[in-house]
């Protein structure tokens, strides 16, 4: 029995070049002319104050054309009084596949309707995979995701935590998905 040596399968064709390509120099000059033309055109636009290359100057600039359903930075929904709608049930933290949500719950006996609230609500964006399961798991519609992504550039991955204060960005006034009951008529003096 003869031993068969492994023959590597050939995936690529051999280059087919005519005499013009084989001369090397003209094609090189042609390529240089293209890159040089783009470079000079962009530089001219820069010098005249127009935007040149499609480079985004992150983090000062972010893309404007995120899709409407893009899963970006988390927001904590507020009640009309500004407190977070979150009841600290930890379902988002439990479902999170990257285990990046950490909540410290606290007890408020004064608020009979919402006795449990998050004293701390922290998300580690260095590990978040933006899957959106936290939004789906939430029984109170308290966490959502904006289409804009968080801008947390840092050379240290241990500092990419956002706390409750940073995440409480959602204003109930523009919450079309969950309208709160309006202020009763004749109740103008109350803030």
């Amino acid at each position: 029995m003869t031993r068969r040596t492994h023959v590597r399968k050939r995936y690529w064709n051999e280059p087919e070049m005519g005499w013009y390509e084989k001369a090397y120099l003209p094609e090189i000059l042609k390529g240089l002319a293209i890159t040089g033309g783009v470079f000079l055109r962009n530089m001219a636009k820069w010098m005249t104050g127009k935007k040149g290359a499609l480079t985004t100057y992150y983090p000062e600039e972010t893309r404007w054309d995120y899709a409407r359903g893009n899963r970006g930075k988390h927001v904590l929904v507020q009640r009309p009084d500004g407190s977070p709608q979150c009841i600290a049930c930890n379902l988002c933290a439990t479902v999170c596949p990257a285990k990046v949500i950490e909540i410290e719950a606290a007890f408020d006996p004064a608020d009979a309707a919402h006795p449990k609230y998050p004293a701390r609500f922290e998300i580690d964006y260095s590990r978040c995979v933006f899957c959106g399961l936290c939004v789906e798991a939430c029984p109170e519609d308290a966490i959502r995701m904006e289409k804009e992504v968080p801008t947390l550039p840092s050379p240290d991955r241990h500092v990419m935590w956002l706390g409750k204060e940073e995440l409480l960005a959602w204003k109930p006034a523009r919450d079309a998905a969950k309208p709160y009951p309006g202020r009763p008529a004749g109740d103008k003096d109350r803030p």
Binding site: C89, N90, F107, P109, P115, K116, E122, P139
Partner: protein
């Protein structure tokens, strides 16, 4: 000995047993809320209904917890009739339940939750508004009561009447206004076993204030341990965070190390299913500020140098005395004996004495000696003295609770202790030790029952295991 058939299995019940007890003895599960193996039978929750075959082929239903097992009885635990009755019972029990599982600490280990998924699983069919009750009632300094979640099983009431004998709880009013309330004389607040009602409660109506909203229960794991609160040595589960649920946020990392709650382990030979409130306060006992580094006459010293210094002091001493801790495990005592043999004159020490206000001794569990392993010290090291001899020139003090005024003048002191204490600096050499949650071992209780405790946490840096330390304290001179 009546023989009966449950779900087609023929079993033999003991005389006087109910169907529930006979089924449990043979591993057949019948659901229950109000029934408890150690409490009386009120028969008020009706969830344990089982079907019993009639002679004409029909079937009638009756609660298993209060029905004596009879000869020739044929019992069904999951017939169609029983299932329908159980579903109706679940609908009735949850009629006014607030279903606030999201903020309830019992969620995840709640009997009502489990049974709802098992026996009902449907939304409420009631069109009426739920009745409301007190949401937060301070039952005592330790327990908060949520009357809306309560299903009126009366387990807690019967516990205070039959086990702890404080008669501290009772039911007021009738029907859907029925609520649990403490007696006006404050007996429940003084009940040394009051926290057992938290475990007894099948729902989240009775919650420990110490554990309130601290963690969801699925984040925690239980490590079997032994309560060191007295020489009873009750089996306890120490609940702390699972490794995969350790918090990583720098602002919350402190919550990872520490016991979140304590529950009893049922051990008929020692404690039955109960523990006293002192066991529930173990997190505070173990959470005291620790000694983190060796000291040499009060000044911080490197670990190797301190051990060598202690070794030299022991080697040079002519009449050394060891004051042995009765909080030491049997393994540590054996290591002490193996390392030193009869080098030391031995003195047994009570590390902890009863605190003011503490129940010293009672008929149920609590014992007067507040140390877990005094019997282990006697078993491993034999009878020890109680006073430090006046001619001692070196005293090795092991563990806390020793009055340094008992040390003869001029005698050197080597002190081994786990916690930060003023005495640490008075010793010639001080070495920090591990605590019970950082090692595993055995305690022997006053009745001679040996129980094992497991390690919960890693050893903090700079801290030594006594079991390993004693071997390196033997030898002569300061040389390595």
């Amino acid at each position: 000995m009546p023989r009966l058939t449950i779900d087609g299995r023929e079993i033999e019940a003991k005389a006087g047993q109910t169907v529930m007890q006979a089924a449990r003895d043979h591993g057949i599960f019948i659901p229950y809320f109000c029934w408890h193996p150690n409490l009386s039978v009120p028969g008020n929750c009706r969830i344990c209904v089982v079907g019993v075959a009639e002679k004409d082929g029909g079937e009638w239903v009756e609660i298993a917890c209060n029905m004596p097992a009879a000869e020739g009885m044929v019992v069904f635990t999951a017939s169609e009739k029983v299932k329908a009755r159980r579903k109706a019972t679940m609908e009735f029990i949850t009629l006014n339940h607030p279903v606030d599982c999201g903020i309830c600490d019992k969620a995840g280990e709640c009997t009502l939750q489990d049974y709802h998924f098992e026996y009902n699983g449907a939304a409420s069919v009631s069109r009426d508004a739920k009745t409301h009750a007190t949401k937060h009632f301070d039952l005592s300094e330790r327990i908060v009561l949520d009357n809306e979640r309560c299903i009126q099983c009366t387990r807690c009431v019967r516990f205070t009447r039959e086990i702890s004998m404080s008669n501290g709880l009772g039911m007021l009013d009738r029907g859907d206004h029925s609520i649990v309330r403490p007696s006006p004389d404050g007996a429940f607040a003084k009940d040394a076993y009051s926290d057992n009602v938290i475990d007894l409660c099948p729902v989240g109506a009775l919650l420990a204030k110490d554990f309130l909203h601290k963690a969801r229960v699925w984040y925690l794991k239980a490590t079997p341990s032994v309560c060191p609160g007295c020489e009873r040595g009750c089996g306890v589960n120490l609940w702390h965070r699972k490794d995969e649920w350790k918090l990583r946020s720098p602002r919350q990392a402190a919550r990872n190390e520490g016991i979140d709650r304590v529950t009893p382990i049922e051990n008929p030979a020692v404690n039955g299913p109960w523990v006293c409130n002192k066991a529930r306060d173990l997190p505070r006992l173990f959470g005291r500020v620790r000694a983190t580094g060796p000291l040499f006459k009060g000044a911080p010293a490197p670990c190797e140098a301190a051990v060598l210094e202690a070794r030299a002091l022991i080697a040079e001493a002519k009449r050394p005395v060891a004051v042995v801790s009765s909080w030491a495990s049997n393994e540590e005592l054996a290591a002490f004996k193996a390392a030193f043999g009869s080098r030391f004159a031995l003195v047994a020490k009570r590390d902890h004495e009863p605190q003011p206000g503490e129940v010293v001794q009672d008929d149920l569990l609590i014992r007067a000696d507040k140390n877990p392993n005094a019997a282990g010290v006697r078993a491993v090291l034999g009878e020890c003295g109680t006073e430090v001899p006046k001619d001692a020139d070196l005293v090795l003090v092991w563990g806390e609770g020793f009055d340094f005024r008992a040390v003869p003048a001029g005698a050197k002191i080597v002190f081994l202790n786990a916690f930060l204490a003023p005495e640490n600096g008075h010793a010639d050499v001080f070495l920090p030790l591990s605590i019970q949650t950082e090692r595993s071992g055995h305690y022997t209780n006053f009745a001679g029952v040996t129980s094992r405790f497991e390690r919960c946490f890693a050893l903090p840096p700079g801290v030594l295991h006594a079991e390993e330390l004693f071997g390196s304290l033997v030898g002569n001179g300061r040389g390595a």
